[in-house]
């Protein structure tokens, strides 16, 4: 890959543990990753099938139902894909749904669902049971979700369209809410290098206003005892720790708490408790950052929250 200008990321130098490794990772193509549709097959059977179709699957150490493929593999052109035996999704993006760990027979909401990869994961993790509402502000973008639902054979998912910040609170409360919010997508630069040039604190501050509103709505529609995952694919603390901090301060510790999480065999870093002379709550260290050079993935930020009352 030609050399990228990482100048817009310079403001992160103080918070990246190994800048050279970070920069090197951003110059490498992103590995392809797929996960098993356990509604239709097992990871062992899929592994056998992928080999028969000439692919080169390598099971992930941290998640046995998913595989990395070689850069020459074209999983989207396989018969197994046609049959809905697996779904293609970037490795780091698998984490939010697994951390949220939707129970069977639950009532869940994916607030910003399109294009629907995490929605599909949630539906399959629920074993096609319960009810999963997939919401997106754009009815047009929901159409991509429709093709995934059809291909994977999902029968527990309903698609709706409204502004996430105004999701109706008259709904019975949800057991879980996925808030994988629109963000500056800085962590996707290995796929979309153009996001780097667009990165700026101004953009992040602007996005944070909507992100706070979406997370507040997620908290409102989640029932007591329910769980929320707040996730972004960006490095900007304004859109990550800043948002979780703001919402926690607003709703209070009686309503919401951060739940520590970790994923064995997958390296994550603690969320920051300060940024640019702004102090955040101490418990933000229990939210996690994924840097691209730690696991050879894209970048992500994930906070697991519990609605208390």
């Amino acid at each position: 890959m030609p050399s990228l200008s990482l100048a817009p990321f310079d403001r992160y130098r103080p918070i990246v543990d190994d800048w050279d490794a970070f920069a090197a990772a951003l110059h490498e193509p992103l590995p392809t990753c797929i996960w098993t549709n356990t509604l239709r097959t097992t990871s062992d059977a899929l592994n056998t099938r992928l080999l028969a179709e000439g692919l080169h699957p390598e099971r992930l150490a941290w998640y046995g139902d998913a595989f990395r493929l070689s850069s020459s593999d074209r999983p989207g052109s396989t018969f197994s894909y046609t049959q809905g035996l697996f779904h293609i999704q970037e490795e780091v993006a698998l984490l939010p749904a697994l951390i949220l760990a939707p129970p069977l027979d639950a009532y869940g909401l994916d607030l910003c669902a399109a294009p629907g990869n995490k929605t599909a994961q949630l539906a399959v993790l629920m074993g096609n049971t319960g009810r999963l509402i997939a919401n997106d502000r754009s009815a047009h973008r929901l159409r991509v979700l429709a093709t995934t639902i059809r291909r994977l054979g999902l029968t527990n998912t309903v698609g709706v369209s409204c502004d996430a910040t105004a999701y109706p609170t008259a709904e019975p409360h949800f057991d879980f809410v996925m808030a994988d919010v629109p963000c500056s997508c800085e962590g996707t630069s290995r796929k979309h290098p153009s996001v780097i040039a667009d990165a700026s604190p101004e953009q992040s501050h602007r996005l944070a206003r909507t992100q706070i509103a979406i997370l507040e709505r997620a908290v409102q529609v989640c029932k007591p005892g329910g769980r929320i995952v707040y996730a972004t694919c960006t490095y900007a603390p304004e859109e990550n720790e800043g948002v979780v901090h703001a919402v926690l301060q607003r709703v209070g510790n009686d309503v919401l708490r951060i739940v520590p999480w970790e994923m064995p065999e997958f390296v994550t870093a603690p969320g920051f408790t300060s940024w640019n002379q702004t102090a955040f709550r101490d418990d933000l260290r229990h939210t996690r950052r994924i840097w691209p050079h730690h696991n050879d993935t894209g970048g992500f930020y994930i906070a697991l929250l519990e609605k208390r009352l």
């Binding site: 028969a52 179709e53 018969f79 046609t82 027979d105 429709a146 291909r151 999902l154 409204c162 109706p168």
Partner: protein, 176 residues
């Protein structure tokens, strides 16, 4: 008499639900019990969607996507969708054809197949049939019987659920 507009999508109950299920049982041997845990809905273009009962949407947001489309109703007879074949096709006992891998390859590339009597023994009459390969439902075809067996016209979509089928090849020797 005042006419109450049917809200779309409309949950099918009673006779409206029994009719399509009876047709699936009659044509394909897919018994109504297969759908005991599912609701059927009529959606805006007259098609019928299928969704687990537990997932039934509640107000106030109108559902734009509801599970899978079970049947297309804008034909002379109800037409199963490819996703119906893939999700429920393995329950079929009649008007179902099992293909070899070479035939299945031709089928997904929209070729018309000539089949011997041994392969068409579960097909009595002309019309839509469900197509299976390696014990999984694969798609929908149109069957015309003849003296030697029959022909199967493939109704597999050129692009199915985002897949451009011209690039897809079924490898030899895969069983499931």
């Amino acid at each position: 008499m005042a006419h109450v507009a049917e809200s779309i999508p409309a949950l099918l109950t009673g006779e409206a639900r029994a009719q399509p299920l009876d047709w699936l049982a009659h044509r394909f041997g897919i018994l109504p019990a297969v759908f005991a845990a599912y609701d059927l809905y009529r959606i805006a273009d007259g098609d019928i969607d299928v969704l687990h009962k537990a997932a039934a949407p509640t107000a106030p947001l109108p559902p734009l996507l509801l599970g899978l489309t079970l049947l297309r109703m804008n034909h002379k007879v109800p037409k199963p969708t490819t996703e119906t074949a893939m999700t429920f096709g393995h329950h079929a006992t009649r008007h179902v054809i099992a293909l070899t891998s070479r035939q299945a390859n031709a089928f997904i590339h929209r070729a018309t197949l000539t089949l011997p009597a041994a392969q068409t023994s579960r097909c009595a009459t002309r019309g839509y049939v469900l197509v299976c390969f390696a014990e999984r439902g694969l798609g929908v075809g149109f069957y015309e019987p003849n003296m030697e067996g029959g022909t199967l016209k493939s109704l597999f979509p050129k692009a199915w659920a985002g897949v451009q089928m011209q690039h897809v090849v079924i490898p030899d020797g895969i069983e499931t």
